[in-house]
Symmetry: C2
Subunit: 157 residues, 2 copies
């Protein structure tokens, strides 16, 4: 092909504790609050990459549960795969990559996390089908009438 259409693929996890709070990290490199995750390596399985990235950022050992959303950054060419997962070992703690590891209520997520990450949490905690959304790095973009409807009615986007 004449154009390089390759994408970065990232994997991230929505993990809740017994109180329903969501595991969040503050990245050391840019100070942003996100759910744990990172870039999938080219020869790595999706589940293995998810486990590795979450461990690198939180010290937790996790098991993936189910895929809950796919999010494409159409400006940068990044496809993010987000999973519900649960901890099976370790204790949440800061690492080389994360300055703070915390558990937030869903209200805190909606108020303090950027829109493109907060929507991944609300999608993962809803019982609807897997979300497929596009964004520009700042805001969710309406891709079709169905997704626009969900965005208006179901989430703070």
């Amino acid at each position: 092909m004449t154009q390089d259409n390759r994408h970065s693929v990232s994997v991230a996890a929505v993990i809740t504790n017994e109180d329903g709070r969501v595991l969040v990290i503050q990245r050391r490199d840019n100070g942003e609050w996100q759910i744990p995750g990172g870039i999938l390596e080219r020869d790595e399985s999706i589940h293995a990459g998810l486990k590795r990235e979450v461990n690198e950022e939180t010290c937790l050992v996790i098991e993936p549960h189910r895929l809950t959303g796919v999010y494409k950054n159409v400006r940068l060419g990044v496809v993010a795969l987000v999973f519900r997962a649960h901890a099976v070992g370790g204790t949440a703690a800061p690492t080389d990559e994360s300055a703070v590891v915390d558990w937030w209520t869903t209200d805190q997520v909606a108020a303090r996390m950027g829109e493109t990450f907060a929507v991944r949490v609300s999608d993962a905690l809803s019982s609807s089908e897997v979300a497929v959304r596009i964004h520009d790095g700042e805001r969710i973009i309406s891709d079709n009438p169905a997704s626009a409807h969900v965005a208006r009615d179901g989430h703070a986007v």
Copy 2:
């Protein structure tokens, strides 16, 4: 990063007719039977890429319904996103990219399509959660005990 971890991302559709037969195409370039789909462009939305690729291979105008599986080729670094979709316009016909467009029963799919594509059809037609699988271009690879169990019990893989 020191290594280029970018992936090709492909999109494909499982479309059935009123008899429950599955839309398949025979590619002109390599003669293989597949479900319609192709490579997502870097600045393109996932749904737009799906509609474009299916139209280029079948002349049909489709609407995506739901994501049914994510499949990574760990040898080549390709992530495939597969959707259930339905035709909303056009008539299925060969194109520059597809030598034959046909409607197959699920038995024909299992017998005549390569394993890594046949599993996308069986996953899409099952009512279970979104499948997440890895393969080497020829065969599905067991990624964890849960997926191995599904592969043994639920599908012809």
